[in-house]
Symmetry: C2
């Protein structure tokens, strides 16, 4: 007797889950239907800024597998089909074909919710004007590129200085634009502590990006044709030929909410370790629409990242296919690049640690990516946060150039293993002059953190 | 009442120990005398190949601190002074000033043995001929550079394909030499398994390096002037204007052996966790002259690396200064570079695991340093060894291009934390297209290793 799996959302989590389930179950055992409302499935949303910036030439290179390739593997992928309603009691979903408008109910035995996240669009005048773009989906990316290719202006305003904001700032620099980055906080990259954020601001300004901080967008002004012309804040107005919104996203859980599924404080679905929605043994959820356990603080958080989405899909597909796999949680690692500046973080910021009642010490050190005498040795700043008394590592932030970003992985593994900074000082890390000073910058920070822990008592 | 600390050897371990002890103890509390037989102290021996290759222009940039700088900090550093005898009973050392020939006995309360390692020089005809060089010390490096600058020939033969051998091969390539690398094993870099060594051989050959494997040097032929002219193996003769020996080193423990101090199977001094020589509370040893605990296999090994030497010095100086610090051991991490090829390893090779009775699975995967669509994404091969049944990570080897080498740190920390490959699949590593595919190559290997562990049972 065949079962039917329905997957809502055909990007990282949804297609990974479908593919993994298909690997483990034949079409006779498990029918798989995937609904995707966009024009694309299985693509790298993370690659969009690089495609816009021209570093990635070919849009299709961002697509891991085409719809036809999925179909050839007996996955019934229905593109441009939006799920409008979820009937948990009746075990069925109502979908609409966005081309024809036809609506259908589809029953399921097992359900995967992989609806992703929705960019935040504040309700401002002009926010929907031509020339104002999000970059969440490949459809969004295509629309932005169409705008850039059809409009001669060379002034870009990016609203929001998170990962997407800074990556888009770089993309516009690559395209030869004048770039203004408008940021609500006092420093860019609020995923870092302010003292590290100022380093990023300085570096971005050195690249010629105008960084406007402590500024909230109040309106988007349009010209007679209704097209974007400027972005206004309380204090100023910034001329703009194109505007990109990178203000952040929220879990796309309207469907789930309407169906009465359990949501957390950030609005993300709540799942167990096997990524099953709490209280629903036949419903899984993963990716940008769920909350994940932060292993360092013990709280649930919404961390929309492709790397988690892919892991979730793998685990969900394994579970549906009858294998055992769990997602233990995250430590909050992220890395990004603005031109040659590399920015990375993992674990807790100072305010995260304080918010969960942890007392801590912080240290900041400066070192180099290679031995100081080796050509290309570049300065890097490492901030480390350790728990008072126990010395347990709580978080690391790194800002530097080539070779800085992926060093965060050392701290990510140490956090997962709940190491103390004292244990870290003895880590046997790779050393040779082209790769590191004899004391890796992370070890230098750990040594200083040990002293700070001892001093504070 | 003042004590006297005597340090034998003024390089990484010795000067780190002396400096750290000085930070913690005033000259009134602790007199510090360091004996160094060479012309240089506190230098980066690891940087010598890059200085020879011209990437590092200035010899003095390899010197962290000059003798006068040490002396200004009340460290009585006696250069060109060799310790000839160690009188444990009498707590004194006999030294000779290599310039004047004068000999002196110096008493000590505390002693640090930091005599380093001695390059292996097989007793071959011609081995001491002009044009045949080691590259262990800065004096060696200077002698080699003098040879290169005074001789017009452009054919270099490097004997030995370990770290120093491959780094010297690169140095000669940079200087425009024809390079032949003669290697006793079937593949270069015997610190890796043979299946990874072949990748290095292929890459080195593609760079124009002639790699001669399974070959033992039988003699070094000289010309009428007594200068090196060729290197002979059983089967062939390779014309050479300069020869570099990179056959390996052994702990320089003749002094310690003569004094009856405890040595391990590799001839290195045996110490406790605080780096005190077994049975001698007032004698410390560290760096290339000691054996270290391999945390993965539980056996003592001789691993001469600057990174351990510096850690040892720090720990010894802390202990002498009255603080508490220990060296828990190593996991066997090493990274090196030949032109744009990056080679890294940590933990056990297959033969190491077998030698200590471990049963294991091995997997090899190929992935890329960045997202496949991102410019500069370079292939990398990752080999992973995991214990049968438990799935505990035992070792990782990586061969690739930019971005490959320092990924070994992920595995180094995981080994230290005794993680299983299953735990590793959930690691929250930094991901963004310029830094990694969405599944980091190390995670791809871990996933494959999990399957292999399950298959074998």
């Amino acid at each position: 007797m065949s079962e039917r799996l329905v997957v809502i959302g055909g990007d990282a989590t949804g297609m990974s889950a479908a593919s993994q389930a298909r690997r483990l179950r034949t079409p006779e055992e498990l029918e798989i239907v995937v609904f995707e409302r966009g024009h694309f499935a299985s693509y790298s949303a993370c690659g969009i800024p690089y495609w816009v910036g021209g570093e990635v030439q070919d849009r299709d290179s961002l697509i891991a597998r085409t719809p036809d390739e999925h179909r050839a593997r007996d996955i019934d992928l229905r593109m441009r089909t939006e799920v409008l309603e979820l009937d948990i009691e009746g075990r069925r979903v109502r979908s609409r074909d966005l081309e024809s408008g036809a609506e259908t109910w589809t029953g399921y035995d097992k359900l995967v919710i992989a609806t992703g996240a929705t960019p935040i669009r504040p309700p401002l005048a002009g926010i929907d004007a031509p020339g104002v773009h999000g970059v969440q989906t490949l459809d969004d990316g295509q629309a932005l590129i169409d705008t850039l290719e059809s409009s001669p202006g060379r002034r870009a305003v990016v609203v929001g200085a998170g990962y997407i904001g800074v990556e888009m700032a770089e993309a516009f620099i690559h395209r030869g634009y004048e770039v203004t980055l408008i940021n609500r906080s006092a420093e860019p990259m609020a995923t870092l502590d302010p003292d590290m954020g100022v380093l990023i601001q300085k570096a971005m300004e050195d690249m010629g990006i105008r960084v406007v901080c402590d500024a909230e967008v109040t309106a988007i002004h349009t010209d007679e044709a209704g097209r974007v012309r400027a972005v206004a804040t309380a204090d100023a107005e910034f001329a703009a030929d194109v505007v990109v919104l990178g203000i952040g996203v929220r879990p796309a859980t309207d469907l789930a909410r309407a169906a009465g599924l359990p949501l957390g404080a950030s609005g993300g679905l709540l799942t167990d370790l096997a990524m099953r929605v709490h209280g629903h043994e036949n419903i899984w959820a993963g990716g940008d629409c769920v909350e994940v356990l932060d292993l360092v603080s013990g709280v649930q958080r919404h961390i929309p990242l492709g790397t988690h989405a892919n892991k979730h899909g793998q685990i969900i597909g394994s579970g549906i296919g009858g294998e055992y796999a769990t997602f233990p949680g995250v430590v909050g690692t992220a890395v990004s690049k603005v031109c040659d500046l590399e920015v990375a973080r993992t674990g807790l910021r100072e305010k995260d640690a304080a918010a969960v009642g942890l007392q801590f010490v912080t240290v900041i050190i400066e070192s180099t990516s290679r031995s100081g005498y080796f050509p290309g040795a570049a300065l890097m700043t490492v901030k480390m946060i350790a728990e008072r008394r126990t010395g347990r590592l709580l978080g690391v932030q790194i800002v530097g150039r080539e070779g800085a970003g992926k060093r965060i992985d050392i701290a990510a593994v140490a956090l997962t293993a709940r190491m103390t900074v004292e244990q870290m000082t003895a880590l046997d890390l790779g050393y040779a002059p082209p790769f590191s000073p004899v004391w890796d910058p992370v070890l230098v920070a750990a040594r200083k953190a040990v002293s700070a822990v001892r001093r504070l008592g």
